[in-house]
Structures are given as C-alpha cells and as structure tokens.
Subunit: 150 residues, 2 copies
C-alpha cells in the first residue's frame, strides 16, 4: 500500500471542497462503502473499508473491503469469481462514505446468496408489524457449490 | 412509534429469507441507510437510523434518520423543505442496512451544501496520492439562506 491518507481537516468547509481525499474513518477505523453497478446504477451491496482496503481499491481498481466478521481484508469475488472492477469512486460531503461504481465479473452477482444484489427483500407493513417479501429470487450461482471449499 | 422490531434470529438462513423484518442494529443501535432517487436511481446520501427513526419512516412514509452529531431523530428536510417521501424500502441479506427509494420535495436536493447528492466529488490519483475533484457543482439552494435560522 503506497497511498497514505492525510488526517481530515477540522475545518468543515475544507472537508467539503476539492483537494486531498481525507476519509473520516470511524472508531473502528472504517468508512461505509456503497456499491452500484456502473451499467445501470442498481444498488448491489453495502460494505466497509479500512484504510488498507480503500488504498488497495484505489491503487488496483479492484474492490477490496474489510470483513468485520472475519476481521481481515476481503478481496470481493476472490472465491466466487465475481470480482468488482471499479469504474468510478466518489465520496460524500463529510468524507465518511464512499460510492463505488463497479463492473461485476464472473456470475455478475454480488450477494453471497447468489443474487445480483444483497437488497432482494422489500419491507411492508402487515398487521402493524414490518415484514420482508422477496422481490428478486433469481440466483446467478449456487452458493453451496461456489463456497464449498471455504 | 408502534412498530416493535423483533430480535434478529441467530440462524443465518432465517435472517436471509422472507418473514419478519429483524434489523441488526450495531453497538450504537444503528443501521446504515442508503438513499436513492426513486425516479432515476441516483445515489443521494448515506445516513443512519436507530429503531425509532426506522419505525417512523415505515409508519409515516417520510424518511427519518438519527443524527449522530446532534444525537437526536432527524426528520430530513424539516428545515430546508427537502422532505423525502419513501416509495420503497428494502433491506440486505444480513439486515444491517436499508435502501430507501425516495421522492425529494422542496428544492429536490438532499445535500446540506445545496447539491442534489452528497456524492459530488470523485477520487483520482495524482502523484500517487488520492485527490478529490468536484463532478457536480449545481446548487439547488443557498445553504446560508436556508439554514440561517439553525
């Protein structure tokens, strides 16, 4: 990793303008990453990045995240083949989130369930309580086969 | 608030299927909210919701968030007039993030800088370091006027 991020300025205006990218990592050292498909804007997933994952992503053009459950760098698609090539990376006004526009390889799926997007369920109210209905059940791969070795 | 969210099941498969919406709030009691424009899918902002904000959003159809800096419920657009009407709310495979598709009122802007989206800057490499360039500088309102009373 060669990119070293500078500390975020305390001046709010400086944080909101052009200039050095100074990501504001949270207490756990992470920023939120929102990932959409570069071809049509579909929201694919939400993940987290530490400084190393963010630098690797910028340097290699391949999306890397930080897996909180496994506590390590996660090169997305390394097992499934669904690598994400980043076409554009943006940040928000206070620099604590990034937006990756990606092109997905392999099965063109970003969810470990085999679906294109992790957001395959919609919330609806039923008898005053919140329920989930599946709005996309198309599987691009069989998770039991793809992840059998992990 | 009438909706009471049940605790998330420990069974991973149950968490990923249809059934009760059991959001997985983090240690701070929050889930991540990704907000896109229902009309064209443009990413507008990323925010956070506690159980109260999430319930208010589902019950009223108007986006409510939790402001971490102000430590209180934040009815988005209450000051600026840019209220967000939710047309669909989805969640991801592990239920720790929600996706709101919204229609924005007022000036049709979601960023406090007056821009449509908080993601108005792209990251690029310059001499081995990460820099930000402004890719959208159209202001839908003047922040100094809109927030003058706050």
């Amino acid at each position: 990793m060669t990119i070293e991020f500078q500390a975020a300025p305390s001046d709010k205006t400086a944080l909101e303008e052009r200039g050095p990218f100074t990501p504001r990592f949270d207490e756990a050292g992470l920023v939120t990453a929102v990932v959409t498909d570069a071809s049509d804007g579909q929201l694919l997933m939400v993940a987290h990045m530490n400084a190393e994952a963010l630098a690797l992503t910028i340097e290699t053009g391949i999306a890397h995240y930080y897996s909180r459950s496994r506590a390590k760098i996660w090169k997305k698609g390394e097992t499934s083949g669904n690598l994400q090539t980043v076409t554009e990376l943006l940040t928000d006004c206070d620099q604590d989130a990034v937006w990756l526009k990606v092109s997905v390889g392999g099965h063109a799926a970003s969810c470990h369930t085999g679906r294109r997007s992790c957001f395959y369920r919609a919330v609806s109210l039923l008898d005053g309580q919140a329920h989930l209905e599946v709005v996309d059940d198309e599987r691009h791969f069989d998770p039991t086969q793809v992840y059998s070795g992990s």
